[in-house]
Structure formats: C-alpha cells, structure tokens
Amino acid sequence: MENEIGGLNPFRKETRTWLEENCPLTMRGQIKDVNDLYWGGRQGAFPSDDHKVWFERMHAKGWIAPHWDKKYGGGGLSDREHKILMEEMARLRCKPPLFSFGLAMLGPALLKFASETQKEHYLNDIVNAKIRWCQGYSEPNAGSDLAGLQMKAEDKGDHYLVNGSKIWTSFGDLADWIFCLVRTNSEGKKQDGISFMLIDMQSEGTATRPIRLISGKSPFTETFFNDVKVPKENLVGELNKGWTIAKYLLTHERQMIGGIGETDEKLNVLEIVNDAIGSVNGKLNDTILRTALARHEMNREIFALTIDRAIDEAKAGNDSGALSSLFKYYGTELNVEAMELIMSASGSDALMMDDSADKHAFLARRFLRSKGNTIEGGTSEVQLNIISKNILGLPIK
C-alpha cells in the first residue's frame, strides 16, 4: 500500500512535479465546451497556443494514451501508474491534452479485436492526433434497435461496396474517418449479419449534411454512403462478427458518457448553486432547493464511490463488466439532474442564449445539450432494459 503520510509514492511525486511544471495554467480548470478541447485530425487546429504546448509535452511523455503499449504510441504505464496519473491530473484539474473518440472508443476496441497491422497503424495515428474519428452506428430506422441497421456492404472481390446512411454522427463534418457498423448478411438473426468497418470519409461517394440541435449548435451530421469502395483490409475482426465489437465499444462509450472516463469535466454544482442563491447561517437560502441539492450530492458522492468499488472489484478479479449500463444510466441521470439544479438556482441568468462574455452565458447551451446525455450511447430506457435482462435475468415478453 502506498504510504501517503510518510512520503508519496515516487511515481506520484514525480508525476505531480512534472504536471505542476508542465501543465499551462489555462489548461487547468473547467472545460467550458467542446471548443475548449483539442480534438486532433486533419482539420484540427489547436484552440490556443497553450493547447498546443500541452499536447506536445504530454505527447513527448507518451501520456496521450498513457496505458497503451509503447509500440502503439502509448506510454506503457501499469494500471496503478495510470490511475495515479489520472488522479494527479484530476488534482490539478488538467484538461485532457487530446480528446477524441479514437482514444475513448475506437482505441479500446481495436486493442481487443484488430489485427497487429491494424493496431500499429490506426492506434499510432490516434495518439499522434493525425486522424479524427467519428462513430457510424445509428441509422434513421435503427436507434435503440441498433441491430436493425441496414447500411449495406457487399463483397466485390477486391473491395466492399457500401451503400446507405448513418445519422446523429457526432462531428461527422470534422472527422477524417468513421468506424461503421454495416450489414453484410441479411439472412438469419439480425445480430449475426453485422460487420465492423473503418471508412475514410474522403472516399468518393461519402457526404455529410449538418443537423442543428436544440442548443443551436450543429455538432452532428447525417452521413451518406453512395457506392463507396472500401478496401478489404478495413474490416475489423471477422465478417459478420461485428456485433460483439460493437457492444464492447459501447461499454467504453457508456463509461465515457457516464463519467467514468474522467475526461469530461463536470460543473461544480454546489459552487454554482451557492453563488447564485447565497446562504444564511451556513445553510443554503432556499430550503426546497437545498433538499434537492442534498439528495443530488449524496447520490453523486456515492456514485463516485461505486466507480471506485467497481475498479477495486475488477482488480480483485470480480467481474463487473455488466455494470457499464449502470454507470451510463446513473451517471447521465445525475448530469441531467445537476443541470436542472443549476438552472433552478441561476434563474434568468441561465437563460441567456447569446455567446456574450457574461459568465453565465454558457449555461443555457450546456443545459440543452445535457438532455442528449440520457439518449446518446443508448437511451436510459435501453440501459434499464439491459440491466433487467442481462443482470437481473428478467424474462422478455
């Protein structure tokens, strides 16, 4: 056990010093929105010089993907060292040097299912921020019922020919490549005819159309594939075995959204509510809000403990993989609740929809965006279905 009193563990000490010396001050603290992050990719500009400095320093350390193998561009840290690094970054409130779906979603799936050649190629490109990835799962008629997807990939001998469309592709217009679920067999069980395919968005026949959201922003696209030729080596895993990869990747996505990934920083609800409402004799000056906030903070603290416990259980060899639905469901419900509390507390200040310099101006968009948390990555209802079926063993009608 690490002795926190009689001096820090050497790796922690070294890491803390290095971060303190190397993380620029503007790269610490609250992330305002997606534009406050470096996403990499061909079109990816650094939001600021400090973002560039921070990325380059972390990159040189191998700490873009600290726990991946060195031959894939990772830092080769052990689980323990990785955890320490994450804790130390959280302590200084460091922003992630690179935020990307490649790191959080595709990477883990490739590590588990891709060929050695694919791993070396794609993982290094992710770490070096050369390629920005987007996710091509949902289709207009396949949302919650994802396995009902129809976008087709036909075997044409030396390549696959892809036809169909995807929807809700987050940052489809900014991404270079897309990881897709495609139908390669229309017979039999719908899950057994799906393959996992990597497609260059610059291929002839691809197109995107932006979708505007209630937040006024347009981070999504509809993505079209019209006779797109995809090289055979872009298939990941076996033909028609893509569903397993899809589900594995989803557990990582759900963890990222649910907050286990610790990259997407939460707003400090307590601080914001306190600032807005004020207190009398140390008690929040609104008894109804105070009760709601107390319940929220209680659950938030215990949810954080539950994440710790799941990690400890995994280390002790007790399987907790089935719990990703729990984390997705509960983490996003908490997020949504937090935004509701902030909205209640902030009143009309939080209703300003312009991008003015007012310190509250970002809240309205954050609130509107939060509504998507309980939909993206599988809705809350779908997570409850998964828990009922896979964990509780309740019968399907």
């Binding site: 209680m298 603290e301 710790d308 259980e313 409850l384 009922s388 964990i391 019968p395």
Partner: protein, 376 residues
C-alpha cells in the same frame, strides 16, 4: 480497496451458514407468535457469542477478537437478511462501542471481558422524544455526596426490557438542548427507582420506555470520556452498523421480490416480463449497488479512524434509509395481495425497515446533517 479480504469473506460465509439454520425468518415469527417474554432466543444468542461475534470490536487484551467494524458490519448485513432479533445492535454495536470510547480503565477491565464472553446484555438509553436528537437531553444527573442522582425518562431504548445494565445519557449541567453538560452513566437494571416498560415495536423486536426516579448512581459509574462529542461518535458508528444491517435487509427483500417477478404469472406470462416492473426493478438494483459502496466505505472509515466519520455516517444512513423504504414498499406492491398477508414473509422487511431507518435518525435527519457537514 472497497472489497473484502479472504478472512472477512470467511466470517461472512460462516455467519450466513449459521443463521440459515439457527435463525431463518420463521424464527422471528415464532418469537412474536409465542409472545416470548425476552423477544430474543437466548440459545441463539449463546451460539452467536460462541462464534465470537460479541468480541469482534473488543481488543485481544480484554478477550475479544479485535476484528474491527468491517467485520461487525458484515455480520450485521447477514442478520439483516434473516431479520434476526438479537442484542447485537444494543450490546455490541452501541454499548460495547460506548465503553471502548468512553469507559475508564477500570470500567473497561470490568465490563469488556464480560461483554466479549456474552455474559452481559446492555442497552444505550438516550432518546427522549420520537425523533433522534443527540443534544436533546432533559434527564438530570445531580451530584450529591454519595453519588449522582438521576431523574427523567427515556424512550425507544433498544433491548431495554432485557438489559442487565444501561448506559444512560444524562446532563450534569446546562439546558435541555445544550451540547455542554452531557454525561454518560453506567446503571444497573436493578437500581432502585428505575422503571422499565417493554414496548413491542412494529418489527417484532423490543425497545423500552425507562424512567428514573431519584436513582442513585455511584460516582465511579460516571463514564470517563462520556461527553457530547463521544456520544456523537457512538451514534455515527451506530448509524454505519445499522446501515450495514439495512443493506442486508434491502438485498434480501429485493432478491425475494425478483424471484417472485419470475415466478408469478398473469396474462399468461411471468409478471417480470412487464417493462413497467422491469425498470423499477432495475432502479432498485442500482440503488442497492450504490448502497454497497457507501456501506463498505463507511465501515472502513470507522476502522481507519478517518476524520470525516460523521459525514460518512450520515451519507450511509441517509442512502440506506431512502433505499430500504423504496425497496420494501416496492416489494409489497409487486407481490400484490399476497404481499399484504401476514403469512407471506415479505411484510417483515417493510416492518423492520421502518424501525431501522428511524433508529438513530431517519432519512430527512441524515440528509440534512450531511448537507450541513458539506457546508450548505
């Protein structure tokens, strides 16, 4: 690490095996139906003492096992599953803790070995009204030449009807709600002027109303470190132990309900195939997973002596209070008419759950306290 080690797993498993045979839920029903005058099974208690459960939190120097509160918590979780009525809470969780924390060297030497051997049933007499309130003490202890004279009354004294000895919270100075002036006394059940009236509670366990009329307590029965802060610490530990018991009850109650959802058929299908029930079951599952995390963390906080024990105690007691209510209410609803019958065992969880969540402070009390301790 928020997981238990091999030794702790073994303790938990052996207690579970023991209780499955010696104290299934039917045992509680039997005690109730035969109107047992003790309200506990002395033979069962003897067996629990033999297993060393009374000495879990007593150091080896006094004949205990020094196993710590995590160990006691695991035992309580198991007795929560079987709803075992025993003096584990009154005597081990509360009174032994009080003596460990507040007793003088002589008091420890006199009482701890007896407690470890299970020869003494003790009860903590504190509450004076229907809601938990640590500072609310009107019972007076006046110092005279030959000792302290106690006057006042207590209510909801767990196992008060069978206690050999009481730990009585009384005030030597100050007004009713003052923190200052609170002291703890050891009082024999046979003391003159002390009256005990058994109150059977909804959970078929027993508490007592106690009154003191000029009860003379020798000076050396004042507990050395028995002030308000110590009292709060005893309650914090008590809350965490109760939370562990409630965790066991919530799990058992939920598992029984889940089994019923799979077995009971209506409209030609198991009722567990209805999504309206599935989602409610899934939410209960999540709450119970959360409860497991806070209980193990809080138990470890006692053993580790962390400074934020009060916050952890309120966090655990609030969450378990909320969850046991939810789970036991849903259990009745999901059992339909059967759930309302005395024949079915599921109602016992509702009843114990309500008493446990009230003991040492209910959900609103601890939610409010948690918020205060978090600074808002």
């Amino acid at each position: 690490m928020l997981v238990i080690n091999e030794e702790q797993k073994m303790l938990k498993a052996s207690v579970r095996d023991f209780l499955a045979i010696q104290s299934p839920l039917a045992a509680l029903r039997k005690l109730r139906d035969e109107k047992n005058s003790d309200g506990i099974d002395r033979q069962l208690w003897g067996g629990m003492c033999e297993m060393g459960l009374t000495g879990l939190t007593i150091s080896e120097a006094f004949g205990g096992l020094d196993f710590g509160y995590l160990g006691l918590g695991l035992v309580l979780e198991e007795t929560g599953r079987t709803l075992t009525a025993s003096p584990l809470i009154s005597t081990v969780l509360l009174s032994t803790t009080a003596i460990n924390l507040a007793g003088s060297a002589a008091q420890k030497k006199a009482l701890l070995p007896e407690l470890a051997r299970g020869q003494l049933i003790m009860a903590l007499a504190h509450e004076e009204k229907a809601h938990h309130d640590p500072g609310h003490v009107a019972t007076k202890a006046e110092l005279r030449r030959d000792g302290y004279v106690l006057n006042g009354h207590k209510t909801f004294v767990l196992d008060g009807h069978i206690a050999d000895k009481f730990i009585v919270v009384a005030r030597t100075a100050g007004k009713v709600d003052d923190a200052k002036g609170i002291a703890l006394f050891l009082v024999d059940a046979t003391a003159k002027g002390l009256k005990v009236e058994r109150t059977q509670m909804m959970d078929s366990r027993n508490a007592a109303k106690i009154s003191f009329e000029n009860v003379l307590v020798p000076k050396d029965q004042l507990m050395e470190a028995g002030d308000y802060d110590t009292l709060v610490k005893i309650f914090d530990i008590g809350c965490i132990g109760l939370a562990a018991e409630m965790l066991g009850s919530a799990q058992e109650c939920f598992e029984r309900t889940l089994a019923y959802l799979k077995e009971r058929r209506q409209f030609g299908v198991p009722i567990g195939s209805f999504q309206a029930l599935q989602h409610r079951a899934a939410k209960m599952f999540i709450d119970i997973e959360l409860c497991k995390s806070v209980v193990i963390k809080a138990l470890k906080a006692i053993d580790d002596g962390t400074p934020d024990l009060s916050r952890m105690a309120s966090l655990a007691k609030a969450k378990l209070g909320e969850t046991i209510k939810l789970v036991s209410n849903e259990a009745i609803q999901m059992h339909g008419g059967i759930g309302m019958t005395d024949d079915a065992e599921i109602g016992f969880f509702l009843k114990r759950g309500r008493v446990a969540q009230q003991t040492l402070g209910d959900y609103p009390y601890h939610l409010d306290r948690f918020a205060r301790l978090r600074g808002f």
